[in-house]
Every structure is written in C-alpha cells, then in structure tokens.
C-alpha cells in the first residue's frame, strides 16, 4: 500500500464542513429544554415586557388618587383593586416592575463589575498578598447579614432609590468576587492559558482574552440569582422606608402600605407580595436553568460520541 505522502494533507481541505452551533445558541436551546429554566425565562420575559411597556398599557395613572374608591377589591374597573388612596393597584404593579427591575439591574451591574474585577485580579495574581488582601476585604463585607449591611450603607448615604442601588450593589460584590476568583483559579491552569504564556502574550491581554470569557458561565448564573436577591432587597428596603420614597410605586412600599391596612383590604398586600414572589422565583428558576445549560460536563457528554 503506497498512499502518496501528501494525500492526507489535501484530503483534509476537501472534507465537507459540518456547521455547528455557536455558544449562545446552544445555551439558549438547552435552556429552553430545561423544564424549570423555561418557566423562569418566560416569566422574566414577561417582567421585562412589563417594565418596558407597562406605562403604555397602564389603564390609570399610578398616582391618581380617588378617595371614593378606596380599598376596592378586584373588579373589572380595577383588576387588582385599589389602595388606601384609591390608586389602581394594577397600574402601580406595572410601574413597580420598572422600578424593581431597574434597581435590580443597576445594583447587579455594580456588584458584577466591581466583584468580577476584584475576583479576576485576586484569582490571577501570583502575589499572594494581593489575593489575601482582596479576599479578606470581601470576607468582611460578607460577614454582615445582607439586608442589615444594606441598611447600614443607606444610613450612611441617605435614603432614596439611587442610594439603594449602590447599597445593594456593594452588598452583593463579595459573592461575585468569590465566584469570579474561583472560576479564574480553574481557568488559569488550562492548557490554552499556558500556551498563551508560552507564546509571550502579555498578562494584560491574557486576562480579557483568555481568562474572562471562559470564566463567564458561573458569573452569568450568579447574575440571574442575584437579580432575584436584588429585587427582594429593594422590596425589603422600601418596606422599611429606606429605598423608594412615596409616592413612587415600589412593590416593597406597596407591601408595607398593604400591611398597615390589612384589616381593610387584604388585596393591597396580596398583589405586590405575589409580584415579588413570582419575580424572585422566576430569576431563581432562570439561574438554575442557565447553570445546567452552561454546565461543561453536559457538553462533554455530548462531544464524546459513544465508545
């Protein structure tokens, strides 16, 4: 048998090429197959639509006072009833979605950016003192119960939505730092990172090019889960009067007001409570689904096609 020596080279380039999926498409596909993740994705999508289009479809001005119709139960005119000022609960819930999501997104943006940066530096550095300093700093923040810490920060900064976002963001920074650091620690030992070093690539290029994109999976999952927490935190802070100020329709504030008037109308507290519950649940479900969809072991199982 005398196969011509160059045949294996040219044969390679003649091979018909098989199209395969990109990273995000695969993730979306697997997420949609995940029973729990699917539900999370659907509800989150509804929330986002509510936040964006809510004001357009809202039947009433959320701050429109109507003393004749206080404490109304759900009717055709007021789907979710009215509150102590006669304001339409349904409209307030729609506007409230905007506030909850906005606070959530910005808080997580703060936590995610700060935390991931700390985690990247901490995980990649070879100087142990840098790692230790950053992590001990994070540990100190971590040691405080989350809501308590948020309240303390707000006490220092003053009440209001903007400060609430900052407070929640700071509180959640350590978790991102830890997750990012742990992801970086495992990725930095991958052979392609060693290869990059052997090629003379600078660290300032290795971090964003090689380390960060491959550490994203646990961070993405955490984003989803911390959005859940952020919404809950915003609600809690507003409940205490520290976050959103009246008359803005934050779900937490609505819950607080509903609690005060529980005798007159259970509906006032019920709907904001349900809204908070479903949102938090949805983001948790989404996070679970993402975690499984991004799980590299599942990908491996599919790549090794039988033995």
């Amino acid at each position: 048998m005398t196969a011509p020596a160059s045949s294996d080279l040219t044969a390679q380039s003649d091979e018909p090429f098989v199209e395969t999926e990109g990273f995000w498409r695969t993730t979306l596909r697997r997420l949609l197959r995940h029973p729990v993740g699917r539900i999370g994705l659907i509800i989150v999508t509804i929330l986002v639509l509510m936040a964006i289009f809510g004001p357009l479809v809202s039947p009433y001005d959320p701050n429109a006072i109507d003393f004749d119709n206080r404490f109304s139960p759900p009717t055709l005119e007021h789907y979710f009833g009215t509150d102590d000022f006669g304001r339409d609960t349904y409209s307030r819930i729609l506007y409230g979605a905007r506030i909850s999501l906005m606070v959530g997104v910005i808080a997580v943006l703060i936590a995610g950016t700060l935390g991931t940066t700390f985690g990247l530096i901490s995980g990649y550095t070879t100087r142990r003192w840098v790692d230790e300093t950053i992590m001990r700093g994070m540990d100190i923040l971590f040691a405080f119960p989350a809501i308590l810490l948020a309240i303390a920060i707000l006490a220092a900064l003053g009440k209001g939505i903007a400060n609430a976002m900052i407070a929640i963001g700071l509180v959640y920074t350590p978790i991102f730092a830890r997750i990012a650091r742990s992801a970086v620690l495992s990725v930095r030992n991958e052979e392609y990172v060693t290869a990059a070093r052997a090629l003379g690539t600078r660290n300032s290029v290795i971090l964003p090019r090689h380390i960060l994109p491959n550490s994203m999976a646990p961070i993405i999952v955490e984003v989803s889960l911390s959005l859940a927490f952020a919404i809950l935190a915003e609600a809690a802070l507003s409940f205490f009067g520290l976050g959103t100020q009246p008359p803005d329709p934050s779900w937490g504030r609505m819950l607080a007001e509903g609690r005060a008037y529980f005798q007159q109308s259970i509906w006032m507290a019920l709907f904001p409570g349900l809204a908070i519950m479903f949102s938090v649940m949805a983001f948790n479900f989404l996070g679970d689904g993402l975690r499984d969809a991004l799980d590299p072991k599942m990908k491996q199982m599919l790549e090794k096609k039988g033995k």
């Binding site: 020596a5 294996d8 080279l9 040219t10 390679q12 380039s13 090429f17 098989v18 395969t20 990109g22 990273f23 991958e190 052979e191 392609y192 060693t194 290869a195 990059a196 070093r197 052997a198 090629l199 003379g200 690539t201 600078r202 290029v205 090019r209 090689h210 994109p213 491959n214 790549e303």
Partner: protein, 327 residues
C-alpha cells in the same frame, strides 16, 4: 565537517516544587521533579526525551521554556542564558523557542476562532504587520499544516483531535521559531491519526530547518522520529545516545527493561521476547533513594549503588550512561 552546533544547552537543571502543609503553609518537603539534568540539543536534530510518568520529562520541557523558573542550573539558547532572564527580555526570547502541547482539546481557547488563535503571537510581536498581512500569514500557516485557509473563522470544537493539533502547530510556527519543544504531541490522539501528525512534524522540520525536543512516553514513536534519545528516571537522565545505539545496545538497566516492556505488533516476536519485568513501583520524587535512584528496582543492583550516585559519563563516543556497572 564542523561539529554540529548546540542550539540549546541544558546544564545541571533542577526544578523542585515545594509542598506546603499546615496552617501557615510552611514548606515541608520538596518534589524533586527535575534533579540535575544536563544535555544539549543540536541544530536541526530531534532529541527524544523519554521516560514514564513522574520522571520529570514534561517539567524539563516546561522549565526550558521558562514556564517555570529553574530552582538551579542553566538553560541557554543560541548562547543566551534563558534561566536568568526576566520580564520583557524573557518575553522577547519566546519568539525563538516554542511549544506544542499535549492535549489538543485543552490547548486551544474554545471561545476564539482558529484565525484568532493562530494570529495571537503575531499580535504580540509583529505589531508592524497590517491586518491584511496578518491574515495572509495565518492562511499561509494553515496551508503549511495541511488545513484549508477557509477554516479561519471556525471554532476549535468543530474540529477533530488531529486537526486541532495541526492548529496548535500552526500557532507555534507563527513567529518562525528555531526550537520547538513537543510535549507529548500525539498522546491524546487516536492511533490512526498519530502517524499523520508525526509525518507533518517531520516534514516541517525538513522544510523549515527546525530543532525539536520530542517528549514522549511512546518509545516506538520516539524511535521513529528522533536522531538521539535521552532516557529519564525520577528526575535524572540515565542514558543518552544516538537512536540506533540506544535501542539496540542500551547500557543502563532501566533503559533495557523499559525497551523490553514495550509491546510489538508481531505475535511471533512477542512470544519469543525476553522481558525484563521490574519489581515494585517508582519511588516518590519527594524522597528519592540515596545513591542511585534506581536502586530499589534494578535487577543488577549491588552495594555501591546504595552509597554513591552514579555520574552521567561518556561510555562510548556520543553514548552517555549513569550507571556504576558502566565505567
């Protein structure tokens, strides 16, 4: 004819890894991965470096490439001492000494395209190139390793192991290095693909005048591709010789038993082979034996082996051996 020039000179190279235990992470013991290794790699030759797991061959390759800082000893490339270099100077040297890695499934960043992967060293060192020139160079490199330039926008997971290894080779060649450390480049590939990659490496060597340090545990493949071969055991070199000499007349007892243990694809020869079966396991590199490090398993051991460590001596021209029986 002038004597062949030594492109890479390794002198008494040592690499110890500390093992830290306890609350204060105090250094308790050291893993003596590479324990005093000396050899030269001549221009345009392939030096095979063989040994079993734990012998330190991969660590030697990594240390030569300065992926680790040597604990002691020197590594020179073309007369320049690599072991002392730091920072920017070291980075500049990397253009000349490159590595091909073992695991084609792990040595390519899964989130980058083939084009980006192969172009990376060009971005680092050849900022003078325009993006057009870079793209042309990448295409040329892909063609050189037998891949279609059309693959430039594909991702690694779309390729087979053999193809991925070719991508890794293309990347290593981007800066036109003279010396390449091949760290078990075919170990993770299917048997039917291994020959493809080895043939490619040989062809490239002839075409580009490359010098290889070929690290492997596959003694048959090393015999095929190498000019000279060095055998390592527990951090030390026990024998170096021209290929034919080493495989036909091995002097060191470890080399002899190692070669006798390699299966041969021929039932008749297998049946008539005299195998030297070693007893026991390889000692821990944390605590290598006193004297000759092979004394716990050597079938020809005698009293001097427990007392004195044998030096690597030239037993015959070009044939070095570290054994008291060979003087």
């Amino acid at each position: 004819m002038t004597a062949p020039k030594a492109l890479v000179e390794v002198k008494d190279l040592k690499k110890y890894f500390p093992v830290r235990k306890g609350i204060f992470r105090r250094e308790t013991v050291q893993v003596k991965a590479v324990d005093g290794v000396t050899f030269d790699v001549f221009e345009r030759e392939t030096l095979g470096l063989v040994g079993e797991s734990g012998c330190g061959k991969s660590t030697t390759g990594n240390t030569i490439l300065r992926l680790h800082k040597p604990t002691a000893g020197t590594v020179s490339y073309d007369g320049v001492d690599l072991s002392g270099l730091q920072g920017e100077e070291l980075r500049q040297m990397r253009q000349h000494v490159q590595m091909i890695f073992q695991n084609p499934y792990a040595s390519l960043n899964p989130r980058l395209t083939v084009g980006q992967i192969v172009a990376e060293p060009l971005h680092t060192f050849r900022s003078d190139m325009s993006s057009r020139e870079r793209e042309e160079k990448v295409q040329e490199l892909l063609r050189l390793v037998g891949l279609s330039p059309a693959f430039i926008n594909r991702y690694p997971h779309e390729f087979s192991g053999g193809q991925r290894q070719r991508i890794g080779i293309a990347r290593a060649l981007a800066l036109e290095p003279a010396f390449i450390v091949c760290d078990e480049p075919i170990a993770a590939l299917d048997v039917s693909i291994q020959a493809q990659v080895v043939n490619l490496l040989r062809r490239l060597q002839k075409q580009l005048g490359l010098t290889y340090l070929f690290i492997s545990h596959d003694l048959s493949m090393v015999r095929y591709i190498s000019d000279r071969v060095a055998v390592m055991y527990l951090g030390k070199i026990v024998e170096i010789a021209e290929k034919k000499t080493l495989y036909h007349d091995p002097l060191h007892p470890y080399t002899q038993s190692l070669l006798s243990a390699v299966p041969v694809a021929d039932p008749k020869r297998e049946r008539s082979r005299q195998r030297i079966i070693l007893k026991g396991d390889v000692p821990s590199p944390v605590n290598p034996p006193q004297g000759c490090n092979f004394n716990t398993r050597c079938p020809l051991v005698f009293d001097r082996c427990f007392v004195e460590e044998p030096e690597l001596r030239e037993a015959a021209p070009g044939h070095w051996c570290a054994c008291h029986l060979v003087e």
